[in-house]
């Protein structure tokens, strides 16, 4: 399937979203709630682009728009910039002190009119990426709760969750770094619960929680070696090197 983005032709597969094609080809479309490997959520609406089919054109969210043969996409127009500014203004009013939102504010030269400024301050923009990450990589211990102005992400009853394994996938995917994860003395604290950390058997650094490790072992029905990602990569690389040595 062939589509045009900003005048150039690119190949895409049926079922792919515009965002996926763009990212694969190094085309920058701003986003907060998109994460590679997850289906688009369409919550932050920063990824607006213009799609033309024949004579008709419309503005869509790239992360949830499935490509069609022959469409022509423009990633930046005056109208898109204007809409994006409005969206960034709303994000700014919600999370005025957040450094990621501040970066956008600077880039798009957004200024909040005095009369809109409120004092409640939250880093979370309710994009739901953390909930998705917990569903995919963890145990679905958190969800979006309440509605309207009291909506938030939390564990049930705001209590330490029995389901949570402390893997930290939520904190890692959060585009605004809104989730508190603290580590000290071999204990990780997240969502009001303490978890014992496990050390990597090679480099000796803490790298995951005991519960997360157990969870993975149960899933794979095997005992994993206790090795952190960095050391795993290193050891794979050196094994590679070894085997190639004998070939050449």
């Amino acid at each position: 399937m062939l589509i045009k983005i900003d005048g150039k032709t690119y190949k895409g597969h049926p079922g792919e979203t515009l965002m996926e094609v763009a990212r694969r080809n190094g085309i920058n479309i701003p986003s907060l709630c998109y994460k590679k490997g997850f289906e688009g959520l369409g919550r932050c609406r920063l990824c607006l682009v213009e799609v033309s089919e024949g004579k008709r054109s419309k503005i869509v969210s790239a992360c949830v728009y499935p490509i069609k043969e022959g469409i022509e996409v423009t990633t930046i127009t005056d109208e898109i910039i204007k809409m994006r500014k409005d969206i960034i203004l709303l994000l700014l009013l919600r999370a005025p002190d957040n450094e990621y939102i501040q970066q956008l504010v600077k880039e798009y030269e957004v200024k909040a009119p005095e009369r809109y400024i409120q004092n409640d301050n939250d880093d979370c923009i309710l994009c739901g990426l953390c909930v998705k990450a917990c569903e995919k990589l963890g145990t679905k211990a958190i969800s979006l709760v309440n509605r309207g102005i009291t909506k938030k992400v939390s564990t049930p009853y705001d209590d330490p969750s029995k389901d949570c394994i402390g893997c930290g996938a939520c904190a890692e995917t959060c585009p605004t770094n809104a989730i508190k994860l603290e580590e000290s003395n071999g204990i990780r604290t997240i969502w009001n619960r303490d978890f014992d950390l496990v050390k990597c058997s090679i480099c000796g650094k803490y790298y995951t929680t005991l519960d997360a490790l157990k969870f993975i072992e149960d899933k794979l029905a095997s005992n994993e070696e206790h090795i952190c990602d960095t050391c795993k990569k290193k050891s794979t690389a050196s094994k590679f090197k070894e085997s190639f040595q004998h070939i050449y």
């Binding site: 145990t139 679905k140 211990a141 958190i142 969800s143 709760v145 564990t155 049930p156 969750s161 389901d163």
Partner: protein, 152 residues
């Protein structure tokens, strides 16, 4: 726990809301142990059931009174003074908004238009409409409900 309420449904995710509604009807709220049991029974994460239970206004995590009083604050009722009726209700019942009286009889909610604008200002006590409300009528109305409850 009265598990009959739950077991009459097949163990499928799509019945989550129906079960929650039944529990709400029976107890006037969703007790925590029921929430946890529903998750177990339907094999759903507790966080999902909790998310649904906190989303719908018809469901509540705190006990609601035997009589839920809904004060309509749609445009017509608002203009005809629903605010003063709400204030009078809270005063007569000695209540904070969103709370339930100590005897478990009454709670007060504000809702947006219940579709009875011709009767404005209107309040709803459980399923019964009271149109043309005035501040003065509030006390007698509450007392009549109290009497019924005491004699029941």
């Amino acid at each position: 726990m009265n598990l009959e309420l739950i077991h009459k449904y097949p163990r499928e995710k799509r019945f989550t809301l129906s079960i929650l509604q039944d529990i709400q009807r029976e107890y006037n709220y969703i007790p925590r142990e029921y929430m946890e049991y529903i998750a177990e029974y339907l094999n759903q994460p507790l966080s999902d059931v909790y998310s649904i239970a906190t989303f719908y206004k018809a469901l509540s995590l705190k006990p609601k009174g035997k009589y839920t009083i809904k004060v309509c604050n749609g445009t017509a009722c608002h203009i005809r003074g629903s605010e003063s009726i709400r204030e009078e209700l809270l005063k007569v019942l000695n209540l904070e908004p969103g709370e339930t009286t100590e005897d478990g009889l009454f709670s007060v909610e504000v809702v947006n238009c219940i579709g009875a604008c011709a009767l404005a200002p209107v309040i709803l006590i459980n399923d019964k409409y009271y149109g043309g409300m005035t501040k003065e009528k509030v006390k007698d109305l509450i007392n009549s409900y109290r009497e019924v409850a005491i004699n029941a």
